[in-house]
């Protein structure tokens, strides 16, 4: 393998990373800007972070987003896992193809259409738009992602584990909770995290289905930016980036450690 740094390699890497991260780096840098003008550097300062915590509107929106994310991700995980179970286990029921197509449709459906149709539904049934409707809409949006993640795990699941449990006297319900669920738990957790992240950064569907008093953080940021970008918003976004980045780093580190430990264990087992 060629390990030297040719000029071509360096250029590609710099260009690639610049393309990906330059906007974000700019945003982070300007969140520490002393000046009120976003594009003019006026010296280092953390004052926008302080004022952020005094901005009641942003704090409320953060709280709404967190609640919507937690509730919708949890509900979507339950529904998505059930759908994945049905799709992998009961392969011969009538309308399976239709059902699986319908579960995965929101994956490719333009968000505008999902948002609009949900809005029409809520209006039709007379549901006042607010916290409840945006949560329901996010469940609809994220459920199929959970189903995809959990289904891919279930396909490789060794059914003889369940048979062994039943053979040893566990009823189907006990088998599910003591064997199936613990074994597929990592996939369910990643499905939940995916759902939570999707709910966290959704703007389009939330705009359609949210109402007064249930403004989510992306909606708040978007509406403020229309009045002009303030360093405060930069600060809010920087915190959001930090939270997501820390989450991703922790998850991948834990994954890596598990993998290394597993390899060590297997080597030890081979040696006897």
């Amino acid at each position: 393998m060629n390990t030297t740094w040719s000029r071509f390699n360096i250029t590609s890497i710099v260009l690639g990373f610049a393309f990906l991260y330059l906007p974000i780096v700019l945003l982070i840098v300007f969140s520490f800007n002393e000046s009120k003008l976003v594009t003019v550097w006026g010296g280092f300062s953390t004052k926008w972070y302080v004022s952020l915590f005094h901005n009641q509107g942003l704090m409320d929106a953060t709280w709404v987003t967190a609640r919507v994310g937690l509730i919708s991700a949890t509900a979507a995980t339950v529904l998505g896992t059930l759908a994945a179970l049905a799709l992998t286990r009961y392969t011969r029921f009538k309308g399976r193809v239709l059902f699986s197509g319908m579960v995965f449709a929101p994956l490719v459906m333009p968000e505008v259409i999902t948002g609009l149709s949900l809005l029409l539904l809520f209006v039709a049934v007379g549901l006042d738009r607010g916290f409840l409707t945006v949560t329901l809409a996010h469940i609809t949006l994220t459920m199929c992602f959970v189903a995809v993640v959990v289904q891919s795990r279930l396909i490789t699941f060794d059914r003889s584990l369940e048979e062994a449990a039943m053979d040893l006297g566990a009823t189907p319900v006990k088998t599910f909770f003591q064997i199936t669920l613990p074994v597929i738990m990592p996939a369910i957790v990643s499905g939940w995290m995916l759902a939570f992240t999707l709910s966290l950064d959704d703007l389009v569907i939330a705009s359609f289905t949210s109402g007064p008093g249930a403004t989510t953080l992306p909606m708040k940021i978007y509406s403020q930016v229309r009045l002009g970008v303030t360093p405060e918003i930069n600060a809010a976004c920087t915190i959001l980036i930090a939270v997501v980045a820390i989450g991703v780093i922790i998850a991948s580190l834990a994954n890596k450690r598990r993998e290394v430990q597993r390899q060590l264990d297997e080597q030890a087992a081979q040696r006897g």
Binding site: E163, A164, A165, M166, D167, L168, G169, V183
Partner: protein, 379 residues
Amino acid sequence: MKSLGSIRRDFAPWNDPNAKPYIQFDNVTKKFGDFTAVNNLSLTIFEREFFALLGASGCGKSTLLRMLAGFEEPTAGRILLDGQDLRGIPPYRRPVNMMFQSYALFPHMTVENNIAFGLKQDGMPKPEIASRVAEMLKLVKLEQFAKRKPHQLSGGQRQRVALARSVAKRPKVLLLDEPLGALDKKLREETQFELMDLQQNLGLTFVVVTHDQEEAMTMADRIAIIDKGEVMQVATPAEVYEAPGSRFVAGFVGNVNMFEGKIARGEAGSASIDAGNGITIRTDNAGTAGAGTAVTFAIRPEKIKVSSKKPAEAVNAIEGEVYDIAYLGDMTVYHVRLDDGQVVRASTMNAARITEDPLSWNDRAWVSFRPDAGVVLTR
């Protein structure tokens, strides 16, 4: 006293007309869609028997085991265990445990929790579970691995955990699906004997599924040879080998030489078989086949002697040419091409280090055998 094979058996309930069958397959048929996995099969297994279902992959033997465990229901027919019809009883209420081919160890549980799983389902008190688990760990010599997870064990150790887990509940019947399939040859041979000891000590009924005839021959009291969902023969290993009931069984178990022919002359079990091209075979094992019947004469390689000169006293001796020789250490295998083109396989134990009558490739040679050495097959 004369006996088929080399083992004298005291345990033979299948010869006792008053013995009560323990497991009965009663005209069992199992269909998966259009495919018939098991076809109108009947089989009887006795208590404390080590019973092997032997067959090629896809012959339906695993389906039999899965029906006994309760994972599949027969399409037609009944399965009885100790007189009780098993139809409709789910796997978790059957007094039967199974050791899976893949072992199916629970990856998120330690070795001891794997073994304790079945006991916990029964609601056994904790101290009793602990002592039973300790006993099982000792039985399979894994005491120091109690706290390990399955992925921290070697293949052989996993196999032992699976075994300990499946016998922990003291089931009436233990089902083993290719129990040694994933082990290497040396470990497999050791484990065969351990399984036999275990079965003796616990006094359980074992039903083992295998495609490995050596494994079945070593371990089982009786073997059922299954082909295309039907039983070809049920017999002791020695009977299966020395007195196969059909061409299929003779060819499936061990090596065999077959001569097609017609009974030329026969009286009281003895017969001459005209095998064509001037070859006549004298045999004492013609059974009831009368003159003119088309038969197959089957003879095992180790019962054929190869020599450079025609043995003076031989009843059956056919001339040919040495075509191939394989020296295996403990024995030597000769392939002799008879003058009519048929190749006969003969194996000789190398009981002495030095042979008086060495043969080489392309030597003229005689194959000879006693009149009671082969069997006559009509099916």
